[in-house]
Amino acid sequence: MINFILRRLAAIFLVLLIVSALVFFLMNAVPGGPFSLGERGYTPDALANLERKYGLDKPVWERYLNFLTSALQLDFGSSFSVVGNPPVTTVIARTWPVTLHVGLYTIIVAFGFGFILGLIAAYYRNSIIDNIVTLFATAGTTVPNFIVATWLLLIFGYQIGWGQPNKWIIPPVLGAGNAILSWDYFLPVITYALLPMGLVARYTRASVAEALNADYVRTARAKGLGERGIMLRHVLRNALIPMITVLLPQIPNLLTGSLFIEVAYGINGLGKFFVTSITNKDYPMIMGLVLLIAFFWSLTYLLTDVLYVVIDPRIRVGGRGGAI
């Protein structure tokens, strides 16, 4: 097992290396660097100076090697476009907390409500309640979240007048600024949670319904066990296995946030920052953010495979390529 994880971590490292190379060379293949954008009106001399300052005058491969050596020491360079040129890691440390907050509340809402909805749907399967939950879950997973965001903005943000455009939607209740738990989070979290909530509800329904029909449940019933005992000890326990393997891995990628949610609600988090970095051609920032996201996604995959093996002993860690 440890061997398997180590091998996968090495693979992640390799993938990150390739991703970084691809992104770096593609980025630098574009005509027009970060300083020739728009009408900044630099004279050729000033431009050359600027490029020398940021090391852009050196050949691409040399810059890439420089980047790699410092990236290995967790130094991803300094931002080009953020005022004061702070190091990439500082900027990420500054913008990530908001995203993390939204992500964390989303996870709680999505998993909590999704689980309850799925459970109810499975227990009353093929009834009207089941149909409503399933339809809700389907809608939640198919309607894009920027569409839902726009609707919520139209209704609550603008018509009822809870907020101002391009600002946090609802004024923070617990003091000014980034309160830990404020009504600010209400609309973004609701919007962001719809998709994972739909997923959780669907998977819970499917696996609980399957467990309810299983032979061991019939046996438990025949034995005369109470409904509650059956649900808790037999159904839920077994239904949890497929759920955990599918749903837990969603967590890392919820934590890196959503571009659409952040742009739509004007949240200054990682996702919105990624979009502005791309429009500003802020090379070091793009690099840092892409690598961060790639790392979290790879972690998601690794977590999925590890959970499979840990939870279901029938699956063995196989040869090359990992479990399953």
Binding site: V19, A139, W151, L153, P165, F274, T279
Partner: protein, 298 residues
């Protein structure tokens, strides 16, 4: 025991049923799927005949009637946008943009993906190894972020969107085809066909592919709304379709701002269309999946 045994013909002649006929019957019994199909017909109709239905060209600006509210102006029933373009016409032409992206991207993706997946799954060995690693690298970053990043390299526009989205659209079909090939490859009918002297190409085209068509078809119906979503999303962020081409996502993105309080129609109509499109495709996809694979229970 009187020796004479009369074999009786079956009394009722059972109507011959084909696999496809069964699937169609199951599909038609599914109310949601039929609703989805209706929505899709409507959208395809809009996209195909946009020039005929739309009262105005999508880029015709009437500066005398800027930001007309819907249901107030006789010439512009759904109002106009910030430069006085008829919103109804732009919504209709938006269907064309969505459908173009939504069909072309999966078509390109599946052509490449099925080829790669078939080669990897059938040949195995070195080819499989290379394809697998390629898939791994491309899945390290979410496809939308890849598209976003690549758009910053290539620039915006309809053609670039299709190109950029196609670059990640091959991954799912590749994985699917490969997995299907791996399971079908071991079946007896393949062994027997090979024993009869079928060549590799013949095996792939006439024996394996028809047997994996069903999951591929279902995957395709889900790939279309994904492409539509990606286009709308990127345009919403301001990185996708460029003016003056009409795109629902762009219309939503442009509308979200301080003026939305009054000019609600700019946001409302395109969002309804995007949501309808996504729901339509997903209903049809779910319906297809259930119809084609009766063993699956929801």
């Amino acid at each position: 025991m009187n020796g004479a045994i009369t074999l009786r013909q079956p009394v009722e002649r059972r109507k011959q049923r084909t696999l496809l006929g069964d699937a169609i019957r199951r599909f038609r019994r599914n109310a949601l799927a039929m609703i989805g199909l209706l929505i899709l017909f409507f959208l395809f109709f809009l996209a195909l005949f946009a020039d005929v239905i739309a009262p105005f060209p999508p880029d015709r600006a009437d500066f005398g009637a800027v930001r007309v509210l819907p249901f107030t102006h006789p010439t512009y029933p759904l109002g106009t946008d910030a430069v006085g373009r008829d919103y109804l016409s732009r919504l209709i032409y938006g269907a064309r943009t969505s459908m173009t992206v939504g069909l072309l991207v999966p078509l390109i993706g599946f052509s490449v993906g099925i080829t790669l997946g078939a080669l990897a799954g059938y040949l195995g060995g070195m080819v499989d190894f290379v394809v697998q690693r390629l898939v791994e690298i491309f899945t390290a970053v979410p496809p939308l972020l890849i598209a976003l990043f690549l758009l910053s390299v290539t620039g915006s526009g309809l053609f670039n969107i299709i190109f950029v989205l196609s670059l990640t659209a091959w991954i799912e079909p590749t994985r699917l085809t490969r997995a299907q090939f791996l399971t079908v490859r071991e079946k007896e009918f393949i062994t027997s066909a090979r024993a009869l002297g079928a060549t590799d190409g013949r095996l792939i085209l006439t024996h394996v592919l028809p047997n994996i068509l069903t999951p591929l078809l279902v995957a395709f119906t889900f790939a279309v709304p994904q492409a539509i979503f990606a286009e709308a999303g990127l345009s919403f962020l301001g990185l996708g379709i460029t003016e003056p081409t009409a795109s629902w996502g762009k219309m939503v993105g442009n509308s979200v701002g301080s003026t939305i309080r009054v000019f609600y129609h700019l946001a409302l109509f395109p969002t309804i269309l995007v949501a309808l499109t996504m729901l339509g495709f997903s209903f049809v996809g779910d319906g297809l999946q259930e119809a084609l694979d009766p063993t699956r229970s929801r």
